[in-house]
Symmetry: C2
Subunit: 392 residues, 2 copies
């Protein structure tokens, strides 16, 4: 096992009607002038925005709002948000929505609290030295951004999708009411489940350093998501299943399931980021589409972890050769993706990529990781291209 | 499932030699004048104190120290610490040790940050409105106090042992180097394991509100502790086993394993507190001594949880009646206690209590919980006396 830091300061308020506590929480963390940041307007149509502004009005907290955050949130909107916050003297950002609104809010928070171009932090030129405090009312269980140190932004110029990680952007609070996720399209719900599982799987498939307790927690989390994701295919209004998935989403990405590991693999995320940057697909679906091909490409180099995954998570019978068991685990995972209507290749994802496009994203992916990435197996540009080609 | 709050702001720095980071961490959280609070001097004999003061000296952080925290930490020392901090202008408390030093540090922190008698918070007369910031270098994996909101203090006048819970006292940071636990006597190591497991079991045995993901995490944690506690009986210097136990200790009591539950049962803790208040035994051993009698007294009222525990944690075969399976789980747990040299009754704990003493602690216990406590089964004074009598 490796040395680790674990830091999850986000105050989570979980349960029905918890959104009514938003004003008290903003006050607790010192917010006086709030930017409410949201996405394409579903929070207005659902009535959540009205509830929130009523609560802020009653508490005497002033606010402005900025919508428009989209999946693979755009740098241009981030710049707009930074200008708006500076002009209006905003000291707190409340994100209403899922990963798009939260990641975009974090980027705006970085931009306000630091001098210079915020994109510098995403391409690794500089490190942020602070962030405006962020609060979240979560409406999609997926990215785990509500507790994570991560923010991923797409620069429209060149379609580069890049992430920035720092403790400064970890939200001060996250309000999680599973009922708010019930109006999601089934496809988005399933995408969220795929994303949640991948956050833990990325930390699980490594060459070493794992702790037994971390593995036990990770396996328990993955099995819980699998079980409840299947329930939600048939019963999208099942509160308990929504709650299990929602809490799993936060725990999958707040660091808990990586304690003691070497930091994780993250190749599927890197591979998907470039697909998402070029084709603008849903992140979770992109992960599902690329995972099987990645797994088949790398499993022999990380055989005992894939075997353990097969037995402990996918409940494959522990008989036959290690390779056979590992492969059955990969097949069982792909069968699960299909059961929740997730793609297992690019075609099912709706992407018909040309050879040139695959070469371009493999090249971009390699640049993004400075040539090489991965723990289960180290991947270079040629490996990335082979995986993209295999999942076409 | 129930609504829940999850708030674990403690920054954990885990691994070998992490104690060298203490000065940076104190500075990060604004400490300028530090009280180093410790126990009976093992941190001096081990050389840890010298390491810490060298680091603080090098960083130009001034400090004073106060030793003497004992298991079942005493109110009189807390008063002494409060006076000392006020006189010296202390703004940060660094606890070196385990639950005794940390709980005592928290109480001192309350006393400095609030007017009036600090004991008021422990008997529920008033609620604290703040606490001096606390940092921890952990040397015993047991109480989980390094991440918890809990502090338990014994008032020598009447030997009342009482707890106070609030987010204010959650440590700002916890440095955890498993090597620092290697010099512990085997008995203390085993006591720690018993305590760690009980923190999660208290949250597990409830009448309802449980989340599947919480149960999965709890069961994974318990199995990990059982496995590694057995290893430490034979190999007390096994670093990985020490690390597993140490991290489990924090996760067992930071709130994670209770999310969505009704708050837990906590009767074994309440029952043990009174034994500890009167006889001054090791907390973990006291819990082990009382658990079996408690479990046999209540299991029929919480049968499906005890059955689930038997199968999923103690690996009892899932055949026979629910009652049989549940009882086998209790027996397996007692066998585990014996395997790690923990007592399963008061006699084995070294306590020969008279009828009068048992009546007295049952009475005190009932007063302490305002007459009634428990979730698996509600217990009144007569039930408490029956359990004490059964475990004599």
């Amino acid at each position: 096992m490796f040395e680790f830091k674990y830091y999850t300061p986000t105050k989570v308020i979980f349960g029905k009607n918890t959104e009514t506590k938003v004003a008290d929480l903003i006050k607790e963390f010192g917010g006086k002038k709030v930017l409410i940041h949201y996405g394409k307007g579903s929070v207005i149509r659902s009535g959540l925005m009205q509830k929130v502004t009523d609560t802020l009005d009653a508490a005497g907290i002033s606010y402005i709002s900025l919508g428009g955050a989209v999946p693979n949130p755009r740098l241009s909107l981030v710049y707009e948000g930074i200008d708006l916050c500076k002009k209006e003297g905003v000291d707190f950002i409340l994100a209403l929505g899922g990963g798009s609104a939260i990641d975009s809010a974090k980027a705006i928070g970085y931009g306000v609290a630091n001098e210079g171009d915020v994109w510098d932090f995403y391409v690794g030129k500089r490190k942020p030295k602070g962030c405006l405090p962020i609060g979240v009312i979560l409406t999609i269980a997926a990215t785990g951004s509500e507790m994570s140190d991560s923010s991923v932004i797409t620069n429209e110029e060149g379609l580069f999708k890049r992430g920035c990680n720092s403790d400064y952007c970890r939200p001060k609070f996250a309000i999680m009411n599973p009922e708010l996720t019930m109006t999601l399209p089934d496809y988005q719900t399933a995408c969220g489940c795929a994303d949640i599982m991948m956050h833990t799987m990325e930390r699980y498939f490594t060459q070493g350093g794992n702790m037994e307790i971390t593995d036990a927690l990770a396996e328990g989390l993955l099995k819980t998501v699998i079980k409840n994701a299947k329930i939600l295919v048939k019963e999208p209004k099942n509160y308990d299943a929504r709650a299990e998935i929602m809490w799993a989403g936060s725990l999958a990405h707040n660091g808990l399931t990586g304690c003691g590991s070497d930091g994780g693999d993250w190749s599927p995320h890197k591979l998907e980021h470039e697909i998402g940057g070029m084709f603008d697909i849903a992140h979770g679906a992109g992960l599902a589409a690329v995972w099987g091909s990645w797994a088949r490409y790398v499993y022999k180099d990380c055989l005992m972890r894939f075997k353990r995954f097969a037995v402990n998570v996918m409940e494959v019978e522990n008989s036959g050769s290690d390779e056979e068991i590992a492969l059955k685990g990969i097949e069982a995972m792909e069968a699960f993706y299909r059961e929740i209507n997730m793609p297992t290749n690019l075609r099912e994802l709706g992407v018909n990529a040309t050879d040139e496009q695959l070469s371009e994203i493999a090249h971009k992916c390699a640049i993004g990781v400075s040539g090489e990435t991965g723990s289960a197996k180290r991947l270079k540009e040629k490996d990335m291209l082979a995986i993209y080609t295999a999942c076409r």
